[in-house]
Symmetry: C2
Subunit: 355 residues, 2 copies
């Protein structure tokens, strides 16, 4: 049995539950390594993965005896079989933040058990990364850094936001990325004023600011990274915001060590924003792992003591509606004394010439 | 007010509800055209889109007075504001198949209303496509057809499944697609035996069968399309399955007219499969629209009378574990007398030569 599944079974016992029904595919992947659709049922009798005809062959190819997981095609299970996974009325954990209200009601009828909320135990466990997970995220960060270095040398006259975004994607997939971590953001000029700009057909112009917010996956693990660069020239007006943002990111990284409270660190940043008269358009960052947005969210209402080997994206941004925005973001790993960036591209003012 | 929102307000009245809280982003897009994250609250007082600082500027740029929708940044709303959207205890619809059990409980506390299940009214309305939606899907189908024609002429020696999939993606995005409809499937040889194969680094060989399952989006609307082709030669052993699958698809398309019952049509197909001794690994198809998998699902337990202008992917497949699989799929529009394919690439036996 894999250590993560062993861990979960210990948790289930300590919560006085008879088992747990896991529906969130990310949690299933974390526990079992399986990426196929299905439901993972952990009971004191056995560990069962229920999938369907589209995936059963692939699942059986992956599972070994050591996994101690039995796979079934759902069409081979009767309603009686489902009732036998647990005893009637058993206390069984479920994922209340993933399962829809409708599925909750169906689950109750199917298993005939007492469904108990588990308050994100698996998501909480996923916050601290093990050695292998850190290696995967480092690799995703390296690919992202190189994609950025590549693209800023290869933007040519007339290219659109969409074309630049696609070139970055192509680079990432051809250099080991197994997918994008999210829909890439590439915004030119006034489009940068929207934190979640979607790439358009707007073409690049001399004098533009360019916002990149890009990331890829490596073995399923994400990177998250943002930079701005300037085309041909950098207007003096950008410097104040740029320097402020960079300083804010540095202050968070310096404070983010084992035992630091997210709430206290972010409250101080809010004070800085208020003193400058800047709006806070979004959180200062978020956990990164198998999902691009994981807990902890970096907000002043999150009372959470950081743990070593937590991986977070730190991304302060300032947006002047209708004019421009600047966001700088790196993926960091929390250490004993501070957080270290895993994405390493330069944060100096960068002016590019179009090819 | 847009006709779709007008329609929803009429539905809300006829269900004796005071309003509805819409959380599913696809339904929000369908009703409002907005693609930004947020919650859409329809009440007898007003129509409100609650978003956050990442999206508020973009939302305000899109909405016009005609929309009769007010947008708020959630940070400007107090808990008192939320309680004012409705009167305490009002009967208000929610999306029980989208909202998590946890969000349901939170919603109840936030709005202080009586939350009523709405049984997918918006999803049901989305089944029948209007003229504009049909045009978008036709365009997505055209791009998909051309991508297929392009790729089968351009597979060269040594290419891997991943490389072929990426070339298709590149073609789609460069020819008007605004994204993929799903993770493309390209499988060579024995990998075709898994209906949901994920592209690997396996390289192409002479004698291989290739399974494509590809689709793109155009203005948010999807296409879905599958073909198999053969490299250099076609083993006689494939023909029996190929012909069977093609005939099954034709039988479904011929029967799929206004008023036909999905259950009856699919039951007949199951009889055919049983007579041949083939397993049924997945549904025979599904609705296609803003989502790649919409209702209706083409299964024998779905009692549903088809309506004109419903768009469905019809995709019978046969899979011989460890050996090979064949699936043929087109996106069809249901008409008065039969269903017409919108993807039109040839379904003759196709043997390709590697470049």
């Amino acid at each position: 049995m894999k250590p993560r599944l062993k861990w979960l079974k210990d948790q289930i016992m300590s919560m006085n539950l008879e088992g747990m029904i896991i529906s969130n595919p990310v949690n299933i992947r974390y526990l079992t390594g399986l990426t196929e659709e299905g439901t993972f049922i952990v009971s004191s009798k056995e560990n069962v993965f229920v999938t369907d005809g589209r995936y059963i062959e692939s699942v059986n190819n992956k599972l070994t005896l050591d996994d101690e997981i039995v796979a079934y095609d759902q069409k081979d299970l009767t309603s009686y079989d489902y009732e036998q996974f647990f005893n009637m009325g058993d206390k069984v954990g479920f994922e209340e933040s993933y399962v829809s209200y409708e599925s909750y009601k169906r689950m109750f009828k199917t298993y005939k058990v007492n469904l108990i909320e588990t308050e994100g135990i698996i998501e909480k466990q996923r916050v601290v990364k093990d050695e292998e997970e850190v290696e995967f995220i480092k690799k995703a960060c390296e690919i992202t850094d190189s994609a950025f270095e590549y693209i800023i040398k290869n933007i040519s006259k007339g290219m659109t936001e969409k074309e630049v975004a696609f070139e970055i994607e192509r680079y990432m997939l051809q250099h080991g990325g197994d997918g994008l971590a999210f829909d890439l953001i590439v915004a030119f000029g006034e489009n940068t004023s929207m934190p979640h700009a979607v790439p358009t057909d707007r073409a690049i112009n001399s004098g533009d600011i360019i916002q990149f917010d890009i990331g890829c996956k490596y073995n399923g693990y994400c990177s998250d990274f943002s930079r701005v660069v300037f085309v041909d020239e950098m207007d003096e007006g950008y410097k104040k915001v740029y320097d402020f943002i960079l300083e804010e990111q540095k202050k968070i990284a310096t404070a983010f060590k084992e035992g630091a409270n997210i709430k206290a660190v972010i409250k101080d940043r809010q004070t800085d924003y208020n003193m400058m008269g800047y709006d806070i358009a979004h959180a200062f960052g978020h956990g990164v792992g198998l999902e691009i947005h994981e807990i902890p969210t970096l907000r002043s209402n999150i009372d959470n003591l950081l743990k070593e080997n937590t991986i977070v994206a730190i991304e302060p941004g300032v947006y002047i509606p209708g004019k421009f925005g600047i966001r700088i973001e790196d993926t960091f790993i929390v250490g004993k004394s501070f957080a270290t960036a895993l994405t390493k591209a330069s944060k100096d003012y960068t002016i590019i010439k179009l090819k």
